[in-house]
């Protein structure tokens, strides 16, 4: 099973920590706030600090493992490839400052600061975005997620679509697994050439799609019979409300924002690493 499906099969972790109790809107705001800030600055150290804080909160909320696994799969290979291609003399056009030399297969190659900074900072920015998003997703259960989205004025039909997608993915995945096993038992060979693999793909996705579409009709009837389109005010299992802990968390974010605004104005966009701004 891929890391992706195991992640999306996972629902929120029901631990009784301050982060699970925080309002979904606050965690969502943290996700947006952290992502925007690491894009405003161009500094791998500052970005790393955001990542460490987010991972520490995730560890406390008992959701560290799935987040760390995702970062290992997506970010680490990206940094390795990015640094190898951009920091070495492979033509990255902004490379100017040599910070050292490495020996590769007997060749002495210069390592450039500009490519190194670029190859590390961009994947780290994405890793902050991923970890803060997963932190929100894995510490907010679906009932709270619905209430949060409703409070954020997301239209009711859009909320249904988002929640339904989360529910459909594991259902469709289980069905795809059953179809793959059924096709293998009927003689489908998986150790074959490229063209045959595409044909194998069709042998799985055609029955999967038709089965999924059959369920569309049934779900539509169910929704209608439960008054989904009825022009009445909807009620929720959980009512989203801000508590003292939420306000405290928001206060810390506000204080950090003020501090970082001061840093940006007085020191600049790369306060620790002192990288030159490169814009493609």
């Amino acid at each position: 099973m891929s890391a992706g499906i195991s992640l999306l099969k996972r629902t929120a972790v029901e631990a009784n920590t301050i982060f699970q109790r925080l309002d979904g809107r606050v965690k969502f705001l943290y996700f947006i706030w952290a992502t925007v800030l690491v894009y405003i600055f161009y500094d791998p150290y500052l970005t790393l600090a955001f990542l460490i804080v987010t991972l520490a909160m995730a560890a406390y909320a008992k959701v560290f493992k799935p987040i760390a696994m995702t970062l290992l799969i997506i970010i680490v290979p990206w940094i390795i490839l990015g640094v190898l291609i951009l920091a070495l003399p492979f033509g990255f056009p902004w490379n100017k400052t040599v910070i050292g030399y490495i020996n590769v297969l007997g060749y002495r190659l210069p390592v450039y600061l500009e490519g190194l900074g670029w190859g590390i900072t961009w994947p780290l920015r994405i890793s902050v975005a991923i970890s803060s998003a997963l932190f929100f997703y894995l510490t907010t259960n679906q009932a709270k997620l619905v209430a949060t989205l409703f409070k954020m004025k997301v239209p009711f039909k859009a909320i249904y679509m988002i929640i339904a997608t989360f529910q459909f993915i594991p259902l469709l995945f289980d069905e795809a697994n059953t179809i793959i096993q059924a096709q293998i038992s009927r003689g489908l060979k998986t150790d074959v050439g490229v063209l045959q693999r595409i044909k194998n793909y069709l042998a799985v996705v055609i029955p999967l799609t038709i089965s999924a579409l059959n369920k569309v009709q049934t779900r539509a009837i169910t929704l209608e019979s439960r008054g989904f389109s009825a022009p009445v005010k909807k009620t929720f299992l959980y009512e989203a409300r801000l508590t003292a802990a939420d306000w405290a968390f928001l206060g810390i974010m506000a204080a950090v924002t003020v501090f970082l605004a001061w840093v940006y104005v007085t020191i600049g966009y790369s306060p620790v690493a002192h990288l030159q701004w490169i814009w493609a």
């Binding site: 499906i5 961009w122 998003a133 679509m161 469709l172 793959i180 693999r197 194998n200 569309v216 019979s225």
Partner: protein, 201 residues
């Protein structure tokens, strides 16, 4: 009596296309996702996470395909890929738009050379220009972490020193195979779907 019965049937039937679209859109998003996972399981040589968008467009029209594709990207951005990746939702909208255009131009006959020329031209060369703009503007335009595109990127950068061209050709190298195959898969599935599910005119 028969007339009364017919009226009652109309009251409980979910005939409204709007409600079917509401259920179809998350199904399309989930199919995009599960399609990508099946690719991994069967080791097929494509990404496999856009044929759902194309299929949604072929059976539900442009808006159903675009919304399903966009929703897939939003879900992935908010869970696995990270917030900035939500902008790839626009790439899925572009995929739906190209599919809709091909459908309107009757370019769905996979035996026709004209269809393949249009599909390869639009998905293989025009669409990567759009994805290149996103990958440079939002992600810094580095190499992809898959070995073949990364090799193309490094080779073009080394030989020309042109950062933009390296990014564009890297994207061409991934899309020129994936998208036409995904389109063919979507057309084949759409042709086998019972007519009652086809909402698109």
């Amino acid at each position: 009596m028969a007339e009364t019965k017919e009226i009652e049937m109309k009251e409980i039937s979910p005939t409204g296309k709007a409600i079917i679209a509401v259920v179809l859109i998350p199904t399309i998003a989930a199919l995009n996702y599960v399609g990508g996972v099946i690719v991994e399981a069967l080791k097929a040589p494509i990404w496999g996470d856009t044929w759902g968008t194309m299929l949604g467009t072929l059976i539900g029209g442009f808006w159903v395909g675009a919304a399903g594709g966009f929703l897939y990207n939003i879900i992935m951005a908010f869970t696995m890929w990270g917030l900035p990746n939500w902008v790839w939702g626009f790439a899925n909208v572009a995929v739906a738009l190209i599919t809709w255009f091909l459908m309107k131009m009757n370019l769905t006959d996979l035996k026709s050379l004209k269809t393949w020329a249009a599909v390869i031209g639009l998905f293989g060369f025009v669409y990567p220009a759009f994805t290149t703009a996103i990958s440079i503007g939002v992600f810094g335009g580095g190499p992809l972490w898959k070995p073949i595109p990364a090799a193309v990127y490094a080779a073009v950068l080394k030989s020309t020193g042109n950062f933009y061209l390296a990014n564009y050709l890297q994207n061409v190298s991934t899309e020129i195979i994936d998208k036409p195959i995904s389109y063919a898969i979507a057309v084949i599935i759409a042709s086998r779907i019972p007519k009652r599910f086809i909402l698109a005119k």
